[in-house]
């Protein structure tokens, strides 16, 4: 099985996932409106009451990006779990395809969905007055951070989807990913929280990820830690999650018997 073959298999199966996303109008509509609705909600409903030093929209954009990525991961986990509970996975596994082509297809489609959601968050942010100070290079670095986060979360979602025995279980498991960003510096600075919570918020993976984007776009982090340190932590977390999840997903897929 050559690499080129694996690529063709994955591309065909990613195409299938994209097509499936487009044919699920409710989910598709939710995924497209969520970034915009959240932006309006956080900036105009909560934003007025929150003191983060400067315009709240300047603070919240990275938070909304990871929030949408968490939501997108849930969608991916459900899609994988749905496939695994359907006869189609047996057919695909009994065909001479490269091992994880089905999973790579799901992750590629997940990446596409999440990058669209991210673009919508950025677009909505700019429309309501977000004014990043980043240079072109910093923008590129921020986009690279987003691609890395979304890849890590997509593989994590694939692994969770394989662990969950059905779509309902996948939904509940991935709920964690949708709520974890709230207990980070995504929406409010950590020092405003009770000490125990602040400690968790300060060191959980979403904080360095969010702070890296914030530092790149706005020129300073909200934690006081330098951008370099946050970026190293964020990259380390994402790489670890990505590698562990991808290995776990590949093994679960091989071992999985209905």
């Amino acid at each position: 099985m050559s690499f080129a073959d694996a690529l063709v298999d994955s591309r065909l199966l990613a195409g299938r996932c994209v097509r499936r996303s487009l044919r699920n109008p409710e989910a598709f509509f939710t995924a497209l409106t969520l970034p915009v609705v959240l932006m309006l909600l956080f900036v105009y409903v909560f934003g007025g009451a929150l003191r983060t030093g400067g315009a709240y929209v300047d603070y919240v954009v990275p938070g909304l990006i990871v929030l949408c990525a968490g939501f997108g991961a849930g969608t991916t986990a459900v899609a994988v779990a749905t496939d695994m509970s359907n006869g189609i996975v047996d057919r695909i596994r009994s065909m001479p395809l490269s091992g994880s082509a089905l999973l790579v297809g799901h992750v590629a489609a997940s990446l596409a969905r999440n990058l669209i959601a991210t673009a919508l968050v950025i677009g909505a942010g700019l429309a309501v007055g977000w004014r990043p100070t980043a240079s072109a290079v910093e923008w590129l670095a921020a986009v690279a951070m987003i691609v890395l986060v979304v890849s890590a979360l997509s593989w994590l979602a694939a692994a969770l989807g394989l662990l969950a025995r059905n779509a309902e279980a996948a939904t509940s498991v991935s709920m964690v990913l949708m709520f974890l960003p709230y207990v980070s510096t995504a929406f409010v600075p950590a020092h405003t929280m009770p000490a125990a919570l602040a400690g968790f918020a300060r060191y959980q993976p979403f904080t360095p990820i969010v702070e890296t984007m914030r530092g790149l776009w706005m020129g300073h982090t909200s934690t006081g830690t330098s951008l370099g340190v946050e970026a190293v932590a964020a990259t380390g977390y994402c790489a670890a999650i990505l590698i562990l999840s991808a290995v776990a997903a590949a093994r679960l897929f091989r071992a999985r018997t209905l």
């Binding site: 099985m1 195409g15 299938r16 044919r23 047996d90 009994s94 395809l97």
Partner: protein
């Protein structure tokens, strides 16, 4: 005699539960073998092992000339699996389902359209080709499933309970389709709980019970093993007794005499044993006295 499948000593356990127990199996090339057995007898596990989905705990098998353990890719190229649930993507149209699988099978892009068109016509799905498979009836989904299996004619086709949940008319249609594929020279491993299905389609029937093959032969041979003629007595209290006889007058007379003390039968009839009786006599102890 050439064989498409030869398996020896296959064992598989899930936890403490022994599903396959030293199972041997051979399927002649070009024949249809029906695996008959109650739920939990190990039919699907055997199919999943031979289709490369599950590794056996012990034993070995050669499928289409390739060792299952060492050449799974070559086995995968020679087989096609139609599982218990129609393996179609319900959000894709029938045509898209076929096109995707054809391209995964590396049919040249230009040939895909033509092949898909042929298959849609062959499996009577042309009119529904551009509707989502989720809107298809159960029978149509199974036909689409079979069409996908026939994109490249496999050497061995697995049909795992192909008509479970289908109405009688769809079942008849599917049987016709399977007969047509067999006519093209495809070797088939069929699992079913329906004895009539085995009777209709199979050259050889193997009865699987508790992970072992407890009987094997043509449907006629298995029936003959139970008795040539079954004597059925119905009593006023709704009791029914069935007795295996050789069909001679003396034997039937003796059987009637034996039950004379049990009361006067209100109805006496003779019939040839069905595969159901073979099945019951082989797979459960309590029904043995009935047969």
């Amino acid at each position: 005699m050439t064989y498409t499948v030869t398996a020896e000593g296959l064992c598989k356990s899930y936890g403490d539960h022994l599903v396959l127990d030293q199972l041997d199996l051979a399927i002649e090339t070009g024949s249809v073998l029906a695996l008959l057995g109650p739920n939990g007898a190990g039919k699907s596990t055997l199919v999943r092992i031979l289709a490369t989905l599950v590794a056996p705990d012990a034993g070995a098998a050669i499928v289409a000339g390739h060792d299952l353990a060492t050449e799974p890719r070559a086995v995968q190229r020679a087989i096609s699996l139609t599982g218990q649930f129609a393996a179609v993507d319900e959000l894709l149209t029938g045509r898209e389902n076929l096109e995707l699988m054809a391209r995964l099978r590396r049919i040249a892009p230009r040939a895909v359209r033509q092949r898909v068109g042929e298959l849609l016509a062959e499996f009577d799905l042309t009119d529904a080709a551009d509707r989502r498979a989720g809107t298809y009836s159960g029978g149509m989904q199974r036909r689409l499933d079979l069409a996908i299996s026939m994109i490249e004619r496999p050497q061995l086709l697995f049909l795992d309970e192909p008509t479970t949940g289908l109405d009688p008319r769809s079942r008849e249609q599917l049987w016709d389709t399977v007969r047509r594929l067999v006519g093209e020279g495809v070797t088939v491993l069929l699992t079913t709980q329906y004895l009539e299905e085995a009777d209709q389609l199979a050259d050889t029937v193997a009865v699987l019970d508790h992970g072992r093959i407890v009987a094997r032969g043509s449907a006629a041979e298995l029936k003959a093993g139970v008795g040539q003629e079954v004597l059925r007595l119905e009593f006023p209290d709704a009791r029914v007794v069935e007795l295996a006889t050789t069909g001679t007058v003396a034997d039937v007379q003796a059987a009637l005499d034996r039950y004379a003390a049990g009361g006067t039968a209100v109805k006496v009839s003779m019939h040839r044993p069905s595969l159901d009786e073979v099945f019951l006599s082989l797979t459960s102890t309590e029904s043995k006295e009935v047969a």
